[in-house]
Amino acid sequence: MAEEKKVRYAMVIDLRRCIGCHSCTVACKSENNVPLGVFRGWVKEAEKGTYPNVSRERLPRLCNHCAEAPCVDVCPVTATYQTADGTVIINYDRCIGCKYCIAACPYNSRFINPIRKTADKCDFCYHRITKGLAPACVSTCVGEARIFGNVLDPNSEVAKLIGANPVQVVRSNLNTEPHVYYIGADTGILGAYFGRIEGDEK
């Protein structure tokens, strides 16, 4: 019998605590030396509704480290792979830059690093988490909206939050099993909004 998996990293983003300061974006850029014009993590923000019934919604975004990751499946040289702890990472020395993973990622989480000339994306700050540190975006979050940990450990904060709250994931219909969970996310901002394209809004 195969050995039971003991670690599966996941992130919970509690939007009730997010203040939209974008410090996660900045910390990620700084920690991972992400070039100008591309992002491993970002926060999208929108206004919902019509005056006077309006609300402001935001959604911090990053790689979802899917259990059934399309990017892992389609990589023709196995440069993108999943570690035993579920983190999806890229072997930059093997990547040929064919961009199939970028086309296949349903979350726009990937990009071409214009300096390294390979695919790139969030790796949960793998260099940090393997040393027992939290990802940069988690440790910098002023509202402690981001919680990172082992979802298989019932005593971890992520497991408790996921168990005790209604959680959402981005594009849940795709069967990719994302491992970035949101608490309090508005459904409108979780996926794409097509009203503007179809002319609802000028």
């Binding site: 923000e45 093997r94 086309a103 296949a104 990009f111 071409i112 795709l174």
Partner: protein
């Protein structure tokens, strides 16, 4: 109307597969489709298509040699292309495709070589039939894989349909027939392409039918699908889709080719073929690029601008491929003169007696 969202901040995502990938699909399609036309004469032994077997084989060989150059040029790390061979990944359609392309290219070259050398009037078409049959299977596999490459992407609404491999295959034959008709007309300037011209409307009809089916399913499907169909039918891409791809590339050539004038006039046939080719180019660009412009997490169409690098590569490869094709067709035994002295393709080399 549902709730409205007004995005006021998000990052810009990019379209990473551009004209080079579209050109790659176009070239592999022309090659695979040409192989199919060549095989109609050599493998299936259909007399009326035999005059086109050699021309088609040369087109298939030239275009399959040119096609991968687009992919290599599109790699961010082209020097690492060997990784495709030393680190295969069999859940990836692209990984399969590399091997398929390689084997198909070898088989096409061997088949073309045999076809050029053989004196089939003496009935020695055994090896050609064998290589042709293998090549036909591989041609379908190559074209299907390019369709599967896109269909295997669940997040892209325009790509993720099981029809895609078949749509690509039919579109491949359409583009191949169109090019063969143009090349044949340029070589002989005489009527003689009627049988092939009669075949084209059927494939145009099949292509159009699939386009209609896919558009209906998109329109009535998910929100993303409806948005994609809206963009193609009523939105900013209506000229590229409705006018260039559907009207100019499918409906007008179909109308020309089913008309008496179009069938009996080589100019009409050639014009229809040229319009068809333009339509197929638009099809490839629409599928590849528009497929990525439909937002997956944002609220607006992603923008795409062709880069200078891509433009130069596509232009140079196109010019070199056409020059190579012209050189080979001029120097290989694909055309000659009939007993009446007029230029003609060479059915007699495939065992058809003069005057038949």
């Amino acid at each position: 109307m549902g709730e409205t969202l007004r995005y006021f901040y998000s990052v810009e995502h990019h379209v990473y597969w551009g004209v080079l990938v579209a050109a790659y699909f176009l070239y592999t399609g022309i090659s695979a489709g040409s192989f199919f036309i060549s095989g109609l004469g050599t493998v299936f032994n259909i007399e009326k298509f035999k005059p086109f077997s050699r021309v088609s084989a040369v087109i298939a060989a030239v275009f399959i040699m040119a096609a991968p150059i687009h992919l290599l040029a599109d790699l961010e790390q082209p020097a690492r292309f060997w990784n495709l061979f030393i680190h295969p990944h069999f859940t990836s359609a692209m990984s399969w495709g590399v091997y398929l392309l390689l084997v198909y290219a070898i088989v096409t070259l061997r088949y073309t070589w045999l076809l050029m050398q053989a004196d089939l009037a003496k009935g020695t078409d055994g090896p050609i039939k064998l290589w042709g049959a293998i090549g036909l299977f591989l041609a379908f596999a190559v074209e299907s894989y390019t369709g599967l490459l896109l269909a295997d992407v669940p997040g892209r609404v325009l790509w993720h349909t099981p029809l895609m491999p078949f749509f690509f295959s039919v579109s491949a034959v359409v583009s191949a027939i169109a090019l063969i008709l143009i090349v044949s007309w340029m070589m002989t300037h005489v009527q003689g392409t009627g049988d092939l011209a009669n075949l084209l409307p059927w494939f145009l009809f099949a292509d159009f039918a699939m386009l209609v089916f896919m558009t209906i399913v998109l329109w009535k499907g998910s929100a993303a699908g409806h948005a994609a169909a809206y963009v193609m039918l009523l939105g900013p891409e209506k000229y590229s889709f409705l006018v260039t791809e559907a009207l100019m590339g499918l409906i007008v050539p179909f109308a020309i080719l089913v008309s008496k004038w179009g069938r009996e006039n080589s100019i009409g046939t050639t014009v229809a073929a040229a319009l068809t080719l333009i339509g197929v180019v638009a099809t490839r660009i629409n599928i590849v690029i528009l497929g990525q412009r439909i937002p997956m997490t944002g609220d607006r169409l992603l923008s795409y601008h062709i880069s200078g690098h891509d433009m130069v590569v596509a232009g140079v490869v196109g010019i070199v491929a056409l020059a190579a094709l012209a050189f080979l067709l001029r120097n290989l035994p694909v055309a000659g003169r009939g007993s009446d002295g007029t230029a003609r393709l060479m059915p007699n080399t495939l065992g058809v007696k003069e005057g038949m």
